[in-house]
């Protein structure tokens, strides 16, 4: 199999890239995904997607510049400002395009796309479709893929990149439908594998499919990762399962209450902002309340929607109500929802530029697995869906512009050696006589990450996390053998994901331990202030001998000089 462009990932970023590549005239495009595209994690996004359309009555003065400023300030000035400006300027066009493709956004009375306020934004600029925005956009993009007849190879599990001489020759997949390994050659590979939330196992809002493997594969192949230490904790994960209760709940006017029934956010931010502060600040405030004994059962706080009334809840947040009732037996119309902060988003990812290009020729990244960087050290709600479509489209288009001049003969040698490596690894996993249960390692890893690389981080914790993860890495060498089930060998899949999780976690922990300042989502208990002099720079991670080698890269500062972040 050989294609001009192979896209790994069927989420928003991957599908948008495929459409862009196809529309730029490349016929030989394939989307490869370990799950069917419509099962992608993007479909779980609830709250909305940002664009300065100015449709909201209070948003007429909004502009891409204001959007850029809010994003940069939200990022705690670690975002590359040129990239942010590209994104916010392109936002209205790309939203209109989705709408023209049929995306069922909610509407204002005048028939325009409805917008709601979101945290850290100066204007209500988050376009939404009830609380199922991600689902609607994902299905709309998949529909466009069907319309264009773009090839979709689903349930193909990518496990390795074929890279030789700084050139990417393709990928190795396990075809779950046959159980066979296959090498898929390509002139260009675009990775759009999404976030790494499952590094934190159940303590995350992410799907089972959002694992660290997506960034680990290129990392193992020599492509650097960037800013991995910045992990966003969402303020409102449902108690128990950590399923997300969208920021839209607060956008629509929901309150956060502690066990005294107080809207405690007034003690942390200005009265004007209250619950709609940026996520890092709200999550820290909540954790402080819980740590200081003002939580419920020392575990959660309450998200109160009751005053919004049944009608508004049913119209704007129907999915939230369903989830609260199904998973926690709570009806938000009658009771407050128990919530706690939960791991939500990886700001960092595969280092790439504004077109998604990486240091390896013929290898691009887009979406949550990439780090362009537009989110810096803290992402604003609604900006990530935007990033996936804007930079997905850019990567697809740019790659399409490159394939013309590239060689059409597959690099058989690189592909075959990668294929053989995976077959050997599979054989080894089949025949090993280890005894360790791999899933114990997964759970142990999650515990370490939650306890030590959480919302508040101390130097000793972070350093011990690094050591412990290294030990897990050794334990992984001794796992029990996997069964040979032929088709749909899910044990092989999840065991492989765990390997990715370990190395991604190690990068996260190492980078966090190295950064002796507090910025955005990274809050260092011994260095509580931001330190621009030393740390206004991106962390870069290169995989060397089983551990990350950390270096730094400067941030692109533009119009907006770093200033203190006040809300």
């Amino acid at each position: 199999m050989f294609y001009d462009i192979v896209i790994v990932g069927g989420g928003l970023a991957g599908l948008r890239a495929a459409i862009a590549a196809h529309d730029a005239g490349v016929e030989s495009v394939a989307v490869i995904s370990k799950i069917h595209p419509v099962r992608s994690h993007s479909g779980a996004a609830q709250g909305g997607i940002n664009a300065a359309l100015g449709n909201h009555p209070e948003g007429h003065d909004d502009s891409p510049e204001r959007h850029a400023y809010d994003t940069i300030k939200g990022s705690d000035f670690l975002a590359d400002q040129d990239a942010v400006e590209i994104m916010t300027a392109d936002a209205p066009r790309i939203i209109y395009e989705l709408e023209h493709w049929g995306c069922p956004f909610s509407r204002f009375e005048d028939g325009s796309i409805a917008q709601r306020p979101f945290g850290g934004a100066g204007f209500p600029r988050t376009c939404y479709g009830a609380d199922r925005t991600g689902l609607y956009i994902l299905h709309t993009l998949y529909e466009q893929v069907v319309k264009r007849n773009i090839e979709v190879l689903y349930e193909r599990f990518v496990t390795k990149l074929a890279v030789r001489d700084l050139h990417c020759a393709g990928v190795v997949v396990q075809n779950l439908h046959s159980g066979e390994f296959e090498a898929i050659g390509a002139k260009t590979v675009i990775f759009a594998t999404g976030g790494s939330g499952r590094v934190y196992s159940v303590n995350t809002t992410n799907s089972h499919s959002s694992t660290g493997l997506g960034v680990a594969i290129p990392y193992w192949a020599g492509i650097p990762l960037k800013d991995m230490e910045f992990i966003q904790f969402h303020p409102t994960g449902l108690d128990g399962s950590s399923i997300l209760m969208t920021e839209g709940c607060r956008g629509e006017g929901g309150y956060l209450l502690n066990n005294k029934g107080e809207r405690f956010m007034k003690n942390y931010v200005s009265e004007k902002i209250m619950e709609l502060g940026p996520r890092d600040i709200v999550a820290r405030s909540m954790q402080t309340e819980i740590n200081e004994g003002r939580g419920f059962e020392d575990r959660y706080l309450q998200l109160d929607l009751r005053h919004l009334g049944a009608e508004k809840i049913m119209e704007r947040l129907p999915g939230i109500r369903d989830i609260a009732m199904n998973f926690r037996n709570v009806d938000p119309i009658k009771e407050p929802i128990p919530v706690h902060p939960a791991m939500h988003y990886t700001m960092g990812g595969i280092d790439c530029d504004k077109n998604g290009q990486t240091v390896i020729d013929g290898f691009y990244a887009a979406g949550e697995c990439a780090c362009v960087s537009v989110h810096g050290s803290n992402r604003l709600g609604g900006n990530s869906l935007l990033e996936t479509v804007v930079f997905g489209a850019r990567a697809g288009k740019h790659a399409a512009g490159q394939v013309e001049g590239m060689s059409s003969t597959p690099d058989e040698e690189a592909l075959n050696s990668a294929l053989k490596a995976e077959k050997d690894r599979f054989k080894m996993l089949r025949e090993t006589d280890g005894t360790e249960n791999p899933y114990d390692i997964k759970n142990e890893l999650a515990r370490i990450m939650m306890d030590k690389i959480g919302i508040f981080r101390s130097q000793t914790d972070m350093e011990s996390a690094v050591d412990e993860i290294k030990r897990l890495r050794e334990r992984y060498e001794h796992i029990r053998a996997i069964p040979d089930t032929g088709k749909f060998n899910y044990d092989f899949l999840w065991v492989t994901e765990i390997a990715g999780n370990i190395d991604t976690a190690l990068a996260i922990a190492s980078g966090a331990a190295a950064r002796t300042e507090s910025r955005g989502s990274h809050f260092h208990l011994e260095h509580k202030k931001r330190n621009d002099e030393e740390w206004l720079k991106h962390s870069m991670y290169t995989f060397k001998d089983g551990a990350p080698e950390i270096s730094y890269k400067s941030v692109t500062v533009g119009k907006y000089e770093p200033e203190e972040r006040k809300y």
């Binding site: 099962r39 209109y96 709408e99 023209h100 509407r107 069907v146 997300l244 998973f327």
Partner: protein
Amino acid sequence: MAIFKVFRYNPESYEIARFQEYEIPDTESMTVLEGLYYILENIDPTLAFRSSCREGVCGSCAMHINGEYRLACETQVSDMGHNVTIRPLAHMKIIRDLVVDLTPFFDNYEKIKPYLINSGPVPDKEFKQSPKERKRIDHHVDCILCGACYGSCPVLATDSAYLGPHALLKVLRFVDDSRDDAAYERLAYVATDYGIFRCHTIFNCQQVCPKDLDPTGAIGKLKMKAVKGKLLGKLKKTGT
């Protein structure tokens, strides 16, 4: 504690289909999906089942659980009385255990042109759509393509050419969209005996839909529109 009886079948190794029993400790506030993961991780790594979002939005985990098609991730073990019997979706080839071949399901979805068709000029901004017009497609757009309806519809037991409730619901989603202008073309395609008129109004699809959608009602509306179109001679002939 709960007993899970899980359907096992592996055509590769010529194993005969059977139910395998597993005992799962501590199932208070556990979902059926979590139970399956418990089996995979601690008892039997050969078990195959699909999942992703674990919050009822990706459509991976539809299966037959205690007498009805449900999403495993949305079903509490305690609500099943701690005795859980699981089968794969019907009407599709079983690949292994709870994993079925969804090819016909997605093929049928693709046949109905599941995308907006608008031949008019594209506006600079959005197509205007009033909240009232938007309301017409409310719910239809919430389908997660889980396949529960497809598994439950008895017509599909005997007629694999039937497009199925999921595809027909999608047709109404576009017919009712104020921005789409291919309504009669769409109707003409489904107003056939492998489309809406193969549906016997059995209601299983409505019964099992985890998103509480109403494919039966959608098909009913399409039938009435198609009959009207046919009587008024408006069903366009398409293609060759």
